[in-house]
Structures are given as structure tokens and as C-alpha cells.
């Protein structure tokens, strides 16, 4: 029987995986360890892909609808339905749009791609939602930690102001001027944090500004007490 070369066997590979196995190809696989190994690997991948496909249920309708809407919204796809197309066909756009996308791909590849698409869709859909949820969570966390601090500092500021007016005018002026600077930074940092709640640099600067204000008020109070 005439045997084939490894290079020639490559053209048999796809039919082989579909179950068409000519005798010369079988003979080659029996005698060629390299091609035999490739076949074994492909079969393993095929089996694995099947198990993935079997374990994954079809994505719910809302996933496809949301995906489609998202892609259309971002201008990545556009629904172009010719006027002549029957309305019955437009009632099932998913089948026409998605099924037509991969008609010739081998099933294992399709299964893998399908899984990857699922993950991508999950990320794509959960991303904006998670972002909003996370941002809200960050913002709430920051506000929760800074609101009582802010209230306490404002209260301390009222007392400190009455203290410091009795000290050296140069010192009092410097303290008031720098307190205004810190207050301004707090306002700017709070604005940044509200715009980008997950911006850790802005949050660090905000906390530092609060710390500075606390230090400054302590100094003002100490000096006021010394003057008294």
C-alpha cells in the first residue's frame, strides 16, 4: 500500500477529525509518531470542547438582546434589514445574525469561541454595571469616613478661631491664611473624589488635607491656650 508523507497528511487532517479516515492516512498515522501525536492532541481538544459545550447552557435571551443593543449603541454593528425581508425573519434576528456569523467553522472551534464570547459578554455587560456599583461604593466609603471628620473639624475650627484672634497678628494671619488653603484643597479633593471615586491618589490627597487641617487646628488651639 502506498503511504503518504506528513505534509500530505495535513490535507487529511480535517476530514479525519470529521470521521473520514482513508486507508493510506490510517497507515501513515500508524507508522508516524509525530502525526499520531498530533491526532491524539486534536482528539483530546475535541473531547474537551464537547464537554464544555455540553456543560454550558445556551445564553439567555436577555444576554443577546443586551449585547446587541450595546454593540449597536457603540456603533460597532448596525441593523440593516432590507425592505423585502419577510417580517417573520426580522422577528428572529439573533438566529440570522449570529448563526450566519460562523457557518463554516469546525464545531470545537465554535464551542471555544462561544465560551469566549460568553465570558466577553459577561465582562462587557457587567463592566459598566460593576463600575457604577464600585464607584458608588467607593464614594459612599469615602463619604462615610470623611463626613464625621469634616463635622468634627468644623466644630474645632469655630473654637480655634476664637482662640487665635488673641495671639500675634502675624501668626494669626498665617494660621487663617493656611487654614483657607487647606479648606480649598479639601474642597478640590472632594470634587475629584466625587468625579472619580476610585481614584486612590485623589483620596490620599483628601485624607492628607484633612490631616493637615486637624494639625493646623491643634496648633491654633495650643497657641490660643498659650496666649490665655
Amino acid at each position: 500500500m502506498a503511504t503518504i508523507t506528513c505534509r500530505e497528511f495535513l490535507s487529511y487532517l480535517e476530514p479525519w477529525m470529521e470521521g473520514e479516515r482513508p486507508q493510506d492516512a490510517q497507515a501513515h498515522v500508524r507508522t508516524c509518531p509525530n502525526c499520531s501525536s498530533v491526532i491524539k492532541d486534536l482528539e483530546m481538544i475535541h473531547v474537551e470542547a464537547r464537554s464544555w459545550s455540553a456543560s454550558e447552557r445556551d445564553a439567555p435571551e436577555r444576554v443577546w438582546t443586551a449585547l446587541r443593543a450595546q454593540l449597536e449603541q457603540e456603533g460597532l454593528i448596525r441593523e440593516t434589514i432590507p425592505a423585502s425581508v419577510d417580517r417573520a425573519q426580522t422577528a428572529a434576528p439573533r438566529a440570522g445574525w449570529f448563526a450566519g456569523l460562523f457557518p463554516r467553522l469546525p464545531r470545537p472551534v465554535l464551542a471555544g469561541a462561544y465560551l469566549a464570547a460568553l465570558v466577553a459578554v459577561a465582562f462587557a455587560l457587567s463592566g459598566p454595571v460593576n463600575k457604577r456599583v464600585n464607584e458608588a461604593r467607593w464614594l459612599k466609603g469615602t463619604q462615610t469616613s470623611t463626613s464625621p471628620l469634616s463635622a468634627q473639624l468644623n466644630f474645632a475650627e469655630q473654637n480655634s478661631n476664637s482662640y487665635v484672634t488673641r495671639s500675634n497678628p502675624v501668626v494669626a494671619a498665617s494660621l487663617h491664611q493656611n487654614l483657607a488653603i487647606v479648606d480649598n484643597y479639601i474642597a478640590l479633593c472632594e470634587k475629584s473624589v466625587s468625579e472619580e471615586p476610585q481614584n486612590e491618589v485623589a483620596r490620599d490627597y483628601l485624607y492628607e488635607a484633612y490631616q493637615q487641617k486637624a494639625d493646623l487646628l491643634t496648633q491654633m488651639t495650643e497657641r490660643g491656650e498659650n496666649v490665655q
Partner: protein, 296 residues
């Protein structure tokens, strides 16, 4: 003060102008002498590594090192309503200004000091307004002010400076430097320090000194300008981040072989290595500008 020089005309006998001519200058002289600043000089023998503490509300404080094992305190109060206390407790000399009455005007609460200390002295200085100047002292130092500027020259040891609005200048300093302020400007010139940590909110920071091997240099502000000068022979790893401002760089940096930096998601950032990357420089600003410039 000027009111004490005035002698009402009705007190003078009209017939005796000669007497008045003698009396008025005498009275004036007496009042001037009594109101003149009372310069006071005190000496304290100390052992090695003495500690000198100074608490003053307002005034010029000048501290210089000398070779004697002695602390000399020359104080000049601005008025007789305050008093300068200088006393020795073991190897520590405490200098402080205190009021002699309850109602002292802020302008009267001022005293100037000229203090000489051994080179290895440790200093703790609190001076709200005026200025603090220290030269050639190699011991640890802690200086706190509100509006007073702080000038250090040829200092070493652990230098800690904290101001509210006062500026800070450090020339030819060595050792470890930590400085913080809200609106004070920092000028760190010709340093030979292995550790510098400087943070000011609205002030500018200028660093023009050596980057010692294994040294760490951290400069941070909120707004204002952070400027670092480098020479071709310097060797450092650099990280510069301004959240809302600019980073201008003249150094040819290469990717750091020592550490992997992740580009931050926010702001403008620059990371890299200059020569072997022996020192570590970190500069951070919120909306200020960071300049990394060649030394002239």
C-alpha cells in the same frame, strides 16, 4: 513708647526755663534707658552632645556652632514686659520667653537670640514668627514654626522642620531631612543627604543636590512646582506623578531594571532609570508641575 517722652507744659514753672532745659533731657534719657532692650548674655558649660531647647513666640533666632564646650545665649527682648529664661538641667539648656504680665501686646512679645553651641549639639526650636537660622551644627535638629522662615546651613544629623507658612532653605545639609509645610517654599541646595522627605501643600520645592547611592528622595506637594536638578553623572530611579498637572523631563530615562512600575490610571506619570539607578527619587503632585531639569 513715644508718649512716655512727653512732658506736659503745665508741669514746667514758667519762670525757670533753665531748670526745665535741664530737666526735660534728663527725663527723656531716663525713659529711653528704661525702655531700651535689655541685652542679656549667659554662658553654660556642657558635656558632649548637649541638648538646647528654645521656645520663643516671635523674633530672630540665630544659632551657630563653635569649638567651645559651652553654650552662650545672648537674648534681646523687645520690651520689659517679657523676660528670657535660660537655665541648665544637666546637659540640657532650656531657653524660653515668658510674659511678665497678663496683658502683653503682641508686638512686645518679641525677643531676638544669638546662641552659640558646640558642633554636636542637639537643637529643639519653636519660634512662631520671625526667622530661625542655624549654621554648622551637626547634631539632630527639630524646628517648628508658624510664619517664621527656617534657614539651615552646613547642618547634619536628623533634621526635622515643620512650618505652617514659613519657608525652608537648607544649604549644604547632610544626614536625614524631613520637612513639611502648608504654604512654605522649600529650597534644598547642594545637599549631601541620603534621605530627604519634603512635603508642602501650596509651596514650591527646589532640589539641587547630590543623589547619594541608596539615598531616597521624596518630594510631594499639592500645587506649586517641584523642581529637581540633575547632572550627567547622577544615578537614580525616578518616579514622577502629577494627578492634574504636568511632568517636564530633560533626563534620558530607561525602563527601570530594579522594579516594575505600573502606569497609574490617573494623571501624568513618568518612570525610569538614569544611569545605574542607585538613588530613588519620588515626586508627587496633585495639580502642580514637576520639572526634572539638567543642572546648569
Amino acid at each position: 513708647m513715644s508718649s512716655s517722652h512727653f512732658v506736659p507744659a503745665q508741669w514746667l514753672p514758667k519762670s525757670n526755663w533753665k531748670t526745665a532745659g535741664l530737666l526735660v533731657p534728663s527725663l527723656l534719657l531716663c525713659s529711653v534707658v528704661s525702655a531700651a532692650p535689655r541685652r542679656q548674655e549667659q554662658h553654660f558649660k556642657v558635656a558632649a552632645h548637649p541638648v538646647i531647647t528654645i521656645h520663643n513666640p516671635n523674633g530672630l533666632i540665630t544659632v551657630k556652632a563653635w569649638t567651645k564646650s559651652e553654650v552662650m545665649v545672648i537674648s534681646t527682648p523687645a520690651s520689659d514686659r517679657i523676660e528670657v529664661d535660660a537655665e541648665q538641667m544637666g546637659n540640657r539648656v532650656d531657653v524660653s520667653t515668658r510674659e511678665l504680665s497678663d496683658s502683653v501686646a503682641p508686638d512686645d512679645m518679641r525677643a531676638d537670640f544669638q546662641i552659640n553651641v558646640p558642633e554636636d549639639a542637639e537643637l529643639q526650636i519653636h519660634n512662631d514668627a520671625g526667622n530661625v537660622s542655624v549654621a554648622n551644627v551637626l547634631g539632630d535638629m527639630n524646628v517648628e514654626t508658624v510664619a517664621a522662615g527656617v534657614d539651615l546651613e552646613d547642618a547634619a544629623g536628623y533634621l526635622s522642620v515643620k512650618t505652617v507658612g514659613g519657608s525652608f532653605t537648607c544649604i549644604r545639609c547632610a544626614g536625614r531631612i524631613e520637612a513639611s509645610s502648608i504654604s512654605g517654599n522649600f529650597r534644598l541646595l547642594n545637599l549631601r543627604s541620603y534621605h530627604v522627605w519634603a512635603q508642602t501643600s501650596s509651596g514650591n520645592i527646589l532640589f539641587n543636590g547630590e543623589f547619594l547611592p541608596n539615598g531616597t528622595y521624596s518630594l510631594k506637594n499639592y500645587s506649586g512646582v517641584i523642581e529637581v536638578r540633575f547632572s550627567p553623572g547622577d544615578s537614580f530611579d525616578l518616579s514622577a506623578t502629577s494627578l492634574k498637572g504636568k511632568v517636564n523631563n530633560e533626563a534620558k530615562l530607561t525602563p527601570s531594571p530594579h522594579q516594575r512600575h505600573f502606569m497609574p490610571r490617573w494623571g501624568n506619570a513618568l518612570f525610569g532609570t538614569f544611569n545605574e539607578g542607585r538613588a530613588k527619587i519620588e515626586m508627587t503632585s496633585f495639580d502642580g508641575t514637576i520639572n526634572i531639569l539638567k543642572r546648569d
